[in-house]
Every structure is written in structure tokens, then in C-alpha cells.
Amino acid sequence: MQQTERQISLKAAVIEAIAEEFRRDPETFYIGEDVGVAEGIFKQTQGLHAEFGDRRVIDTPISEAGMFGLTVGAAVAGMRPVVEIMFSDFLTLVMDQLVNHAAKIHYLSGGGFRVPLVLRTAIGVGGVLGSTHSQTLYAWPAHVPGLKLAAPSTPADAKGLMTAAIRDDNPVLYFEDRMTYNLKGPVPEGEHIVELGVADIKRKGSDVTLIAFSRMVHVALEAADALAAKGISAEVVDPRSIVPLDTETLIDSVARTGRAVVIDGGHESYGIGAEVAATVSEGAFDYLDAPVMRIGAPHNPVPCSKPLEAMMVPSADQVVAKVERMYG
């Protein structure tokens, strides 16, 4: 892998991965609402239509179920489509095609069919978009056998995971926190693959493990700085993919530190945080010095209001407070 100091945004890194794969493989196309000439509501498809044209970058009506059904059918027919569902909230509108078709076709056909598609969607709270355009609904597909899930936190991971997702022979849901789109970082030029199911230790530490997904990795890193100032050495682990989950790396880290906090931007109850906390509590049971704790969004809808929506996002202060409680 060629290393580089080139800094680009997370959004640009995702687009770069898609463009490189589209050049490599003519059996790919991109489909979604306003993804063509308009280049996406967050400019998250910038340049794709200009390069690949109407035939491979396709605008659709506001018909998520229809466009996703199209994608599943094309994938079964051998294409490698990328479909964009504007917000993860709208996964609710493709549930039957996702749960009863995309997830099951490979298994139920006895391996006869593959469904190599990528569903790209935005998560995260910010910018006051309200209860139906702000959710982080990745716990839902995580709960459906047959689907893989990736959630990058850095531009380099974003590129590597998207490349891996497009090349994967299974349906992969790719979650981008829209508040990280302009986050910059070094990204390798040319082919760059981050295998699904491999966690990354974003910061080494010895006293407590902070397990965080997507944008929450940055909250965890901020908390780790604050904890360092208090003499507590925090390790930050980013699973990068939710399914498959790199339980080995997670449990190994917690077994070393003896303490863990899971930070998740989705709702705390019945969420990803519960899954990770339960898994780590079980796997590192004999090594735990304190209970594994969870921080997630409270159990209410995301209000359409700047001060109110701020309460829906876990903060570094909350993480620090939880860790300090462990040392009670």
C-alpha cells in the first residue's frame, strides 16, 4: 500500500473509492435521489455523473422501495450496484426488499445467487433536520442475518471500506455520519482496501477501552485526551464494520484494560451498544474490573431544534464521567 500525506475529506474519499471501482469494473452503477446532475444533497456524488454519465449514475423518483428493488434485481443479475438511500431513516421504506429479499436470496437459493450491492446511507444528528432525517438506524440491519454493515470514522477508512464493500459478494450497508463529511485526513492514492470485520485501534492505552463507531470515534478520542490529562490512559477501538464484528480485537483490548465504555450515536436501548457491551461482558468476563458501560442517544425522537438535538449526541464529557465513575 502506497502511503501518502495527501489530505482529503471523508466525502471525497468515498467518492474516490466509488470512481476508482467504477473505472475498474464496468458492471457497476450508482442510483438514488438527486445523485446525478445535482450531485447529491450533500454533494456526496460530486463528479460521478460528469464522469460516468446518465447510464451509470441514475436519478430516481422519491421511491425508495422501487429503486432498492431495482438494485437487488440488478445485483442478482450480476451487476455491482451502489444504491443511495438519502438518510438511514428511509431504510424503513425498503424493509421488505432488504429484510425478505436482499438478505435472504443467497442463503435461500442454496448459494445459487449472489447479491453484491452496496447501500450507501447517511446517519447522524446535526443541522436541525428533525426526527425523520437524523436517526442512526444501523442496529436494524445488524439484526437481520445476511447483511454486512460498515461505518467509517476517517477518510482513509471510508475509502478502504467502500472499496471492500463494492467488491464484496454480499449486500453491504455503508453508513456515513453526514457531520463527518468535511473531516480531512490522509488517504492513500490508488487501490486501498480495508477488509470488513477488522477493527482498528485508533489510540493505544492501558487503563480503559473506549469502543466507538463512526463519528463517535472522534468523541472517544476527545475523551481520551481529557482522560490523559487526569492520568487515565484510554485505548480507542474503532470496529469499522458492525457486521462482521471483530470481537477478538474488542475482547482482547478489554481483557488488557479491564474496563470498557461503548459509545454509539444510535438509540441506546436495544442498539449496537447493547450488542457490543453484551459481547464484551461475556468474552472478557474474568478480566473485567468494572461493569461495561454504554452511552447512546436517549430514548426519544430527535427533536427539530438546535438545543434539543444537542442532547441526542453523546459527548466527551459523558464519556469522561462514565470512566471516572468506574474509578469511583
Binding site: 431513516d89 428511509f90 424503513t92 421504506l93 424493509m95 421488505d96 429484510v99 425478505n100 429479499h101 438478505a103 435472504k104 442463503y107 435461500l108 428533525g130 426526527s131 425523520t132 436517526q135 438506524l137 442496529a139 436494524w140 445488524a142 439484526h143 437481520v144 442475518p145 445476511g146 457486521v243 464484528l245 444510535g266 438509540h267 436501548s269 436495544y270 442498539g271 449496537i272 451498544g273 447493547a274 450488542e275 457491551a277 453484551a278 459481547t279 461482558s281 461475556e282 468474552g283 468476563f285 473485567l288 468494572a290 461493569p291 461495561v292 458501560m293 454504554r294 430514548h299 426519544n300 425522537p301 427533536p303 427539530c304
Partner: protein
């Protein structure tokens, strides 16, 4: 008390509320009992209140949900039966984005007294696309109460509460419960949400089980008792709201936990209970929490192929033994 089936217990509650609440609409009544069963009182309701009964709506789950939710927002209670939970996923947007958020987002102006009923679990013989227990997904989103009843009396009491509640409620029933018989209180009978029931008291291990798996757990507890292991079986009855106190109080006594339910493992009911217990009963836990769920694989068709997906008393006994080691 009268002896009746689980299905009859549920219909008892629905029939009583249809008589008492002249604004209530009943949608999908054809699915309440299943094709074979007959229930004269339900038939009478269908005839007497024909204007408020839609026996078999079109195959339009999201619009059927809209019908129930819009009616409920207008002050007219509604119950909609979707047949199978695997089909109801078509209506998820209406459930979480309309029913679930309305009260909060309107600043309390709107209430949604609607009940959504569906079957969950492995449908015997049926196709994979019919077998799902997706209640943990809805539990991840705020604003929807979720009922998982296990006995004829409970479904009557919980359904009555659901049909009096000002909040949207999802009721998921397992097919193997429908014909199960039990004693059911006569007349008006309700069970508050968020109150777990200890189905069997014990000291050595806590088995948290829901819906049909309560009976599997009880059978396992019998076997374990013969071996001198005293298992406590806790049935939450509603998973939103969840009676955390009852679960934690049992775990503080036993120090060991097995969770048995029908949702897939990843991000399932067991994950929530495992995380809850691991965090809040840390000092009392003598062994890791074990989750017993169907494997994270689509459920195949046919009883033989489905065998590995069925949680049996033997599997529960095995899981209990593993936490006792």
C-alpha cells in the same frame, strides 16, 4: 375464571373493547384467530359493528398502518392485525416515523391510541420470508410499547391495557401459543405494562424468557430441578417499557443469567438484557450472561431444516449448565 386458548383470551379483550369503545376500528379481524378457529363473540362483533370492522384489508401494510394511526390521531382508537411480523416490516416507516414520534414531536398535542398485532417466530413449514421476530428493531426506536405475552390470561390483560393506552403498542404473538389453554379471569381484566412476572421462583440461575420461550424455559427448569438446580424464570411481558428492576433483583439473588427469546442474536433482546445486567448487576454476577437465540442466519423452510433454529428445553438446560460451571 374460564378455561380458554391464548387466541380466545386475546379476542376476549378485543371484543370487550369493541363493545365499550364505540369509536374503535378493528382492521384485519380475519387474522386474529387464524383460519381454522371460530369465535362466536368475534363473529357477533363483526356483524354488529360492520362499519367499524375491516375484515381483510388489501395487501398494503404501510397504508393499513396509516389507516390505524391516522384514525388514532383523530381520537378514534384502532387495532390493526398484520398477519405476520415478516409482512409488517413494510409498515415500519409508519410505525416509527408517524406513530412513534407523534406525541413527542407535537409537543404533546397528539396521541396515538393504536394497537398493531402480528405473529412472530418460526412459522411451521412456512417459507423463510414468513419467519421473523423483529421486535428488538422497534424497541431500538422510541415511542412504541411492545407486548410479548406468554399465557392466555396475560394476553387478555395486556391486550386490554394496550386498547386503553394513549400510546401506540405492538403486540407480537408466537404461533405455538395460539392454541395453548389456560385459566383466564372473567370480565374486565388488565395487566399494567412494565411489570415482569416471575413464572417460577428459584435461587441458582435466572432465565429471562419471552413469549413462547417462557414455556420452553419452564420445561427446562423442571428438568434442572430434577438435577437439583433451582432456576428462576422471569417473563418481562412487555419489553418496552422493560421492568429492569425485576430482572436485576432476580439476578442479584442468583448471580447467573440465561436469556432465551426468538429474536436473532445480533442487537437482539438478549443483547439488551446482557448489557443491562453486565452494567447494573456487575458485582453480583458469578458468570457471563449467556444469550440463547436462533443463529444469525435466515430461517429456512421446512420442519427438518428449521430444527437448528428452534430453541428447545434441552438447549436451555445446556446453557444453564454452562453458566453454572
Amino acid at each position: 375464571m374460564s378455561r380458554m386458548t391464548f387466541a380466545a383470551g386475546m379476542v376476549d379483550a378485543v371484543v370487550a373493547r369493541m363493545h365499550d369503545d364505540q369509536t374503535m376500528t378493528l382492521i384485519g379481524s380475519a387474522y386474529l384467530l387464524g383460519p381454522a378457529a371460530e369465535h362466536p363473540a368475534l363473529n357477533a362483533v363483526r356483524e354488529r359493528y360492520a362499519d367499524r370492522v375491516i375484515d381483510e384489508p388489501p395487501i398494503s401494510e404501510s397504508a393499513v398502518a396509516g389507516l390505524a394511526i391516522g384514525s388514532a390521531m383523530s381520537g378514534c382508537r384502532a387495532l390493526a392485525h398484520f398477519g405476520l411480523a415478516a409482512f409488517a416490516v413494510e409498515a415500519w416507516s409508519q410505525f416509527i416515523h408517524e406513530a412513534g414520534v407523534a406525541h413527542h414531536q407535537s409537543g404533546g398535542q397528539i396521541t396515538v391510541p393504536a394497537v398493531f398485532v402480528m405473529m412472530h417466530g418460526i412459522m411451521p413449514i412456512e417459507h423463510s420470508q414468513h419467519s421473523r421476530s423483529p421486535y428488538a428493531m422497534l424497541a431500538n426506536c422510541p415511542g412504541i410499547q411492545i407486548v410479548l405475552a406468554s399465557t392466555p390470561a396475560d394476553i387478555k390483560g395486556l391486550m386490554t391495557t394496550a386498547l386503553r393506552s394513549d400510546n401506540p403498542t405492538v403486540v407480537m404473538n408466537h404461533p405455538l401459543l395460539m392454541a395453548m389453554e389456560g385459566e383466564v379471569p372473567d370480565g374486565d381484566f388488565s395487566i399494567p405494562f412494565g411489570q415482569a412476572e416471575v413464572r417460577r421462583a428459584g435461587d441458582d440461575v435466572t432465565i429471562v424468557a419471552t413469549s413462547h420461550k417462557v414455556h420452553v424455559a419452564l420445561e427446562a427448569a423442571e428438568t434442572l430441578a430434577a438435577d437439583g438446580v433451582s432456576a428462576e424464570v422471569v417473563d418481562p411481558r412487555t419489553i418496552v417499557p422493560l421492568d429492569r428492576a425485576a430482572i436485576l433483583s432476580s439476578v442479584r439473588k442468583t448471580g447467573r443469567v440465561v436469556v432465551v427469546d426468538d429474536s436473532p442474536r445480533t442487537c437482539g433482546f438478549g443483547a439488551e438484557i446482557g448489557a443491562l445486567v453486565a452494567e447494573s448487576a456487575f458485582d453480583d454476577l458469578k458468570a457471563p450472561v449467556v444469550r440463547l437465540s436462533p443463529p444469525d442466519i435466515p430461517i429456512p423452510r421446512g420442519t427438518v431444516a428449521q430444527t437448528p433454529f428452534r430453541t428447545t428445553p434441552e438447549k436451555v438446560v445446556g446453557a444453564v449448565r454452562s453458566v453454572l460451571r
